[in-house]
């Protein structure tokens, strides 16, 4: 079970791991040298909760090739599509989904393509 949980954390942008790791080291630094307080700010500014541009359909980052293209070795052809709602997905993933339901899976608005590219 533990190995699969690690995989899941990867998928959610390793929120928990990343956070506790960097906090801890900063805390230690702070104990040694109180003036590294600045560093605290920097760490805190990394907002780990923001959506990290993961395609909500295949759950791979949109800047990487989608799961389907990865399995079929077509990484080069895989592009990103942005909707009018500003949500982005792999174009491959979204073109499959709109055949099923012409709505953004994240906000349920009618899907209108704003831009396709990399």
């Amino acid at each position: 079970m533990s190995d699969s949980q690690v995989i899941m954390k990867d998928e959610t942008c390793s929120t928990a791991n990343g956070k506790s790791g960097s906090m801890e080291s900063t805390k230690q630094d702070a104990e040694v040298k109180p003036f590294t307080l600045k560093k605290w700010n920097i760490v805190a500014m990394w907002s780990w909760d923001v959506d990290c541009d993961t395609c909500a359909i295949c759950r791979v980052q949109v800047m990487d090739a989608c799961l389907r293209c990865q399995t079929e070795n077509k990484q080069e052809e895989c592009v990103v599509v942005w909707g009018e709602c500003n949500h982005s997905f792999h174009n491959c993933c979204m073109s499959l989904w709109v055949k099923q339901n012409n709505r953004c899976p994240l906000c349920q608005q009618e899907w209108m393509v704003q831009r396709i590219g990399k």
Binding site: M1, A56, I57, R59, L67, T71, L96, P105
Partner: protein, 188 residues
């Protein structure tokens, strides 16, 4: 749960060995499908997030796309019953939802006597936003099914109209029939 993850671990090890000895993929299957890769993440996630009333049963741990979810409601009309749902995840997952059947005969407004289920997230096409979406995961399906016995129990939009009307007409008689079905079909 433990057995399943252990089995998967062994399988992974075996696959790794296989690929070392023979570079081409094994004879019996093509490359892992998108569905299988999604399930490799979603099934363990479902395992650790299962409602307390549920267990899962994989007949073949190599086939994550076909398993049973057993719901034993702790309270409500169907308490003490053991309801078995067969879940099949089609090749086109997660563009389409899993297909689910209730294998245990039941008197329920949202489950027909032959096992069809009315649950919004399992609906493939929906005009509003309540149906299946690829943002859903297997754990949502498990929770949705378990909630059919509590929060999502819906007498106003029934699939088994007779059962819903029975409830409106005579609640205690409805409950008696539910209990009769539980005793007769949902005990094991």
């Amino acid at each position: 749960m433990l057995t399943l993850s252990k089995k998967r671990k062994e399988d992974a090890a075996r696959r790794a060995n296989n690929s070392l000895s023979s570079p081409q993929t094994s004879d019996n299957s093509k490359r892992a499908s998108v569905r299988d890769m999604l399930l490799n993440k979603e099934v363990p996630e479902m395992d650790v997030n299962l409602p307390s009333s549920c267990t899962v049963d994989f007949e073949d741990p190599n086939k994550l796309h076909s398993f049973k979810l057993i719901v034993t409601p702790e309270e409500g009309y169907w308490r003490g019953g053991r309801f078995v749902f067969s879940i099949h995840v089609p090749e086109e997952y997660n563009i389409v939802p899993p297909t689910v059947k209730c294998l245990t005969r039941i008197w329920h407004p949202n489950i027909s006597e032959d096992g069809n289920i009315c649950l919004s997230i399992l609906r493939e096409h929906s005009v509003d936003g309540t149906g299946w979406a690829p943002t859903r995961r297997m754990k949502d399906v498990a929770w949705g099914l378990s909630f059919l016995f509590s929060d999502l129990l819906n007498f106003d939009d029934p699939l088994n109209i007779e059962a819903a009307e029975h409830y409106q007409r005579n609640r205690s008689d409805f409950e008696a029939k539910v209990r009769h079905y539980v005793e007769r079909y949902a005990k094991s």
